[in-house]
C-alpha cells in the first residue's frame, strides 16, 4: 500500500477537533512499515479517531500542499495565484491613459470613437452568441440506446464521484438520495463527500449519510485559499476510479448519467478528456429570478456549449457534472485552487494542452437560487472567475494563439472575455444612450451620433440576447418560460451589477470564494420538470 492509499484511509475519517496532535518521532516510513507488517491491525490503528500519527499528518500536509500549490509551483503560467502580471498592468494603465487623453483632447471625436468601440464590442458578443446558438442548435443527439448500454455494462470501471461540501449540512440528505439513485453498480462507485475538516455540521451530516459505507467522507485540512478546487485536488489524490465526476451538493443528476458518460468516453477519441453534462434547475418556476436563471442556463448549456463543442473552440466548464478521465486530470495537475471558476479555467487549460472537452446529452438538475443577494454573490464569483481565467490565459497571447489556433483564440476572447466585457459595458451604453438623448453637447462628447451609436448597439445587443434567451428553453420543451425572456434587459442590468462587484472584488480579494447558500427553495425535492 502506497502513501496515497494510507492517506486515503486516514482521510476517510476526519480527526475530531481537539484530538491529540501527532505522535512525536513518527515518520512516513514508520507508518508504511507498520502497515506492511501488521496489515489490518495497522489500518485499524491508523483509522482510530482518537489517535493521530505524525506520519499521517505529514502525508496529509504533503497532500494538501500539493493540492494547493502543485499547479502554481510547476506551471505558474496557468495559476491565478498572481492575478495580473506586471506587463498586463502596464498595458491596462497605458490603454486607460490613452483613452483619457484622446477624450480630453477631442471629446466629440474621442467620445464618438469610444462609443462606437463599446457598441461594436457589445453587439459583437451578441452576434457571436447568435452564431454559436445556430451551430449548437444543430447538435446531433448523443442518446445511447439500451442495447449498447447493456453491452458495455459487463466491463464497467470504477467511477469516482466527488461532491465537495462546505456549510451544506442541510442538503446532505437530499444529496445522498440523489446519489443513491445513480444507475451504476454500487461496488464500482467511489463516492467521496469532500468536507472541510473544521466544518463540524457538514462533517457530521456527511458521516451520518455515509453510515452504511456507501459513501466515503474525505476531510480536507483547513487552510487557504478555502476553495472548492483545493478540496477537489485533495480528493483527486484519493480517487480510485478511471473516470471521475464532480457534483455539487444540491445536484440531482439523471440516474443514467454515469453510464452515458462512460459510453461517450468509449466512443470518443482518447484526447477527449472531459465531458460536460447539461445543467438546469428543478425549481426553475419558483419565482422571476429562478425563471430568468433557467433561461440563462438553458441557452448556455443546451445551445452555446454544444456550439463551442462543434466548432472546436475552448469550452469553459460549468461547475458541476464534469466527467473526466482521471489520468488526464492528474496529468494536468487538477484544478487551479486560486481560480474561483476553476472549472472554466480547466476547460481552457485542457484545450491549450491539446485535450478536448465535449458536451454530454444528460442533465443534472440543480437548485436555482431564489434570493437576489444569494444570486448576486454567486454571479459575482462566476464573473470574477471569468476575469481571472481571461487574465491567466492572456498572459502570453501568442502562446494561447499557438495552442488554441485562431478560431479558438478568437472564440476565447468573445466567449470568456466577451461575457465579462458585455456585462461591464451594458450599463455604460445605457448611460451614454440616455445622457446623449438629453444632452447634445459635443464639448462633453455627447452628440446625436453617440446617441444613435449607443442606441443601435443596445438595440441589436439586447434584442439578440432576449431572442436567444427566448429560444433557449426549446430543447427541453420549457416554452412557458420563453415570454420571460422579454425581461432580459433588466436581468442583464443585474448581471452588470455583479460584474462591477466582481471587478472590485478581483482587485481586493481575488481568491475569496463567496459562498452560495443552497437549500433555500420551497419547491419539493425532486420536482424535476
Amino acid at each position: 500500500m502506497g502513501e496515497v492509499s494510507i492517506l486515503r484511509e486516514a482521510s476517510a475519517r476526519p480527526r475530531a477537533r481537539g484530538a491529540p496532535e501527532c505522535a512525536a518521532g513518527a515518520t512516513d516510513a514508520v507508518a508504511l512499515r507498520l502497515h506492511s507488517k501488521l496489515g489490518a491491525a495497522a489500518k485499524s490503528l491508523l483509522l482510530s479517531g482518537s489517535h493521530s500519527f505524525g506520519a499521517i499528518e505529514t502525508l496529509r500536509s504533503a497532500a494538501i500542499d500539493d493540492a494547493t500549490h502543485a499547479l502554481q509551483r510547476h506551471e505558474p503560467q496557468y495559476s491565478a495565484a498572481r492575478t495580473v502580471t506586471p506587463a498586463q498592468r502596464t498595458l491596462f494603465v497605458a490603454v486607460g491613459l490613452g483613452l483619457t487623453v484622446c477624450v480630453a483632447i477631442s471629446p466629440a471625436v474621442g467620445g464618438l470613437v469610444l462609443t462606437a468601440f463599446i457598441a461594436a464590442s457589445y453587439a459583437a458578443n451578441a452576434v457571436f452568441r447568435a452564431w454559436l446558438f445556430w451551430v449548437g442548435s444543430d447538435e446531433p443527439s448523443t442518446q445511447i440506446d439500451a442495447s449498447e448500454e447493456n453491452a458495455s455494462a459487463a466491463d464497467l470501471p470504477v467511477y469516482t464521484v466527488l461532491v465537495p461540501l462546505y456549510r451544506e449540512a442541510n442538503v446532505v440528505a437530499q444529496l445522498a438520495a440523489a446519489l443513491r439513485r445513480l444507475d451504476y453498480p454500487p461496488h464500482l462507485l467511489d463516492v467521496k463527500l469532500v468536507v472541510e475538516e473544521d466544518d463540524d455540521d457538514t462533517v457530521a451530516a456527511a458521516l451520518e449519510a455515509s453510515a452504511d459505507g456507501v459513501f466515503e467522507v474525505v476531510a480536507v485540512p483547513a487552510g487557504e485559499p478555502r476553495t472548492k478546487p483545493r478540496a477537489c485536488n485533495y480528493a483527486l489524490q484519493l480517487a480510485r476510479g478511471d473516470f471521475l465526476v464532480i457534483f455539487d451538493a444540491e445536484d440531482r443528476p439523471e440516474p443514467d448519467q454515469l453510464k452515458k458518460a462512460l459510453h461517450a468516453f468509449r466512443r470518443a477519441p482518447v484526447n477527449v478528456a472531459c465531458l460536460q453534462a447539461r445543467l438546469n434547475f428543478f425549481n426553475a418556476r419558483e419565482c422571476w429570478l429562478t425563471r430568468m436563471f433557467a433561461l440563462d442556463y438553458a441557452l448556455w448549456f443546451d445551445f452555446l456549449l454544444p456550439g463551442l463543442d462543434r466548432l472546436g473552440i475552448p469550452m469553459p466548464l460549468g461547475g458541476t457534472s464534469n466527467h473526466f478521465r482521471v489520468e488526464a486530470l492528474r496529468a494536468i495537475r487538477g484544478w487551479d485552487p486560486f481560480n474561483v471558476t476553476e472549472d472554466a479555467d480547466l476547460g481552457i487549460r485542457l484545450a491549450r494542452l491539446g485535450l478536448r472537452v465535449r458536451t454530454l446529452d444528460s442533465t443534472t438538475y440543480e437548485e436555482a437560487t431564489n434570493a437576489l443577494d444569494n444570486w448576486l454573490r454567486q454571479r459575482t464569483r462566476w464573473l470574477k472567475g471569468y476575469m481571472q481565467t481571461w487574465l491567466v490565459h492572456m498572459r502570453d497571447p501568442r502562446q494561447l494563439l499557438r495552442n488554441a489556433g485562431l478560431g479558438g483564440f478568437l472564440g476565447f476572447q468573445l466567449f470568456v472575455g466577451g461575457t465579462v466585457v458585455a456585462a461591464l459595458l451594458n450599463p455604460i451604453l445605457w448611460l451614454v444612450f440616455v445622457l446623449s438623448f438629453f444632452i447634445d453637447v459635443p464639448a462633453v462628447g455627447f452628440t446625436g451620433a453617440t446617441h444613435a451609436l449607443s442606441g443601435s448597439g443596445l438595440l441589436l445587443g439586447n434584442a439578440l440576447f432576449a431572442y436567444l434567451a427566448m429560444l433557449g428553453p426549446y430543447r427541453r420543451g420549457w416554452l412557458d418560460l420563453s415570454p420571460y425572456a422579454l425581461l432580459v434587459p433588466f436581468y442583464w442590468l443585474l448581471i452588470s451589477a455583479a460584474a462591477y462587484r466582481a471587478a472590485w472584488q478581483l482587485a481586493r480579494k481575488p481568491w475569496y470564494w463567496e459562498k452560495t447558500v443552497h437549500g433555500l427553495t420551497r419547491m419539493a425535492d425532486g420536482a424535476v420538470p
Partner: protein
C-alpha cells in the same frame, strides 16, 4: 433613369433572378424532378410579366422570394417546432415586412393564427411562449419600420389614387385569375400543413393584388409574380407518381398563361 442606373438595375435584376432560379431548381431537384423538368418548371415560375417591367421587377422578385421563404419555412415549422425553424419563419415574416410592410404585417398576423391548430405545444402557457418567440423578430421589424416611417419619413407603400367601380370589377377578376390553378391544386391536395400555409399565402397575395391595383393603382402583375414561386413549392411537396410531372406542368403552364393574360388585360388600366 440614366444609362448607368439602368445598367445597374438590370444587373441587380439578373443576379436576383439567377439566384432565385437556382433556389427553385434546387428545391425541385430535391423533390426528385428530373433535370430538364426542374429547369423547365423554374423557367415557367420566373417568366412572369412583372419581371419584364423595369419599374416593378425588383420589388416583384423580392415579394416572390419572401412568399417562397415564408411558405417553405412555415411548412417546416409546423412539421416540427425547433429553434432553427422558428428563427427561419420569424426571419421570413420580418423580411416580408421589409419588402412590403402591409402585406408582410398581414401575413405575420394571419399565418401564425391560421396555423395555431397545427402547433404542438401542450399547454396554453407553452403555446404563448411559442408565439412570443415566433413573433419576436417580426414585431421588432414592425417597430423598426414604424420608427423609420415616423422619424425618417420612410414609406414602403405608395398610395397613388383610386380607380372607377367598373375598372374595379375587372381588376378583382384579373387579380384572382392567375391564382386559380393554384387554388384548384391546393383544394385537391390533402389538407396537409404545407397546403394550408400555401393557401393562406396565396389568399394574401391575391388580396394584396386586389387592394394594390384598385386602391393604389399598383401594377396588377406585381404580386401575381409570387404565385409562380409558390407553385414550385406546391409541386415540390407532391408525392412521386406516374402523373405527377404531367400535373405539375399543367399547373405551372396554366398559372403562367393566366398571369400574362391578367397582366395584358389590365395593362391599360394599370397605366391609367
Amino acid at each position: 433613369m440614366s444609362a448607368s442606373a439602368a445598367l445597374a438595375h438590370w444587373v441587380i435584376l439578373a443576379v436576383l433572378l439567377s439566384v432565385f432560379a437556382g433556389v427553385l431548381y434546387r428545391r425541385l431537384r430535391g423533390a426528385e424532378y428530373r433535370r430538364v423538368r426542374a429547369a423547365a418548371f423554374t423557367v415557367l415560375a420566373l417568366a412572369q410579366p412583372a419581371f419584364a417591367v423595369p419599374a416593378t421587377a425588383i420589388r416583384s422578385i423580392l415579394v416572390a422570394v419572401a412568399a417562397y421563404a415564408i411558405g417553405s419555412t412555415a411548412a417546416q415549422f409546423v412539421r416540427r417546432q425547433d429553434p432553427r425553424r422558428i428563427v427561419l419563419l420569424g426571419g421570413s415574416l420580418a423580411g416580408a415586412q421589409l419588402v412590403h410592410p402591409v402585406w408582410g404585417t398581414l401575413t405575420t398576423i394571419v399565418l401564425p393564427l391560421a396555423l395555431r391548430h397545427q402547433v404542438t405545444a401542450t399547454t396554453s402557457a407553452r403555446t404563448a411562449g411559442l408565439y412570443v418567440s415566433l413573433l419576436f423578430i417580426p414585431a421588432l421589424s414592425s417597430a423598426a419600420l414604424l420608427y423609420l416611417s415616423l422619424a425618417q419619413h420612410f414609406d414602403g407603400v405608395q398610395w397613388r389614387g383610386f380607380v372607377s367601380p367598373g375598372q374595379y370589377a375587372v381588376l378583382v377578376a384579373a387579380a384572382v385569375l392567375p391564382a386559380t390553378p393554384l387554388f384548384i391544386a391546393l383544394a385537391r391536395a390533402p389538407m396537409k400543413i404545407h397546403a394550408l400555409s400555401l393557401a393562406i399565402l396565396c389568399t394574401l397575395i391575391v388580396a394584396m393584388n386586389v387592394v394594390g391595383s384598385c386602391v393604389a393603382a399598383q401594377p396588377l402583375a406585381e404580386f401575381a409574380a409570387a404565385l409562380g414561386a409558390l407553385g414550385v413549392l406546391l409541386i415540390a411537396h407532391w408525392a412521386v407518381s406516374a402523373t405527377r410531372d404531367r400535373h405539375a406542368a399543367l399547373l405551372m403552364v396554366a398559372s403562367l398563361a393566366l398571369s400574362w393574360t391578367a397582366a395584358l388585360m389590365t395593362a391599360e388600366l394599370a397605366h391609367a
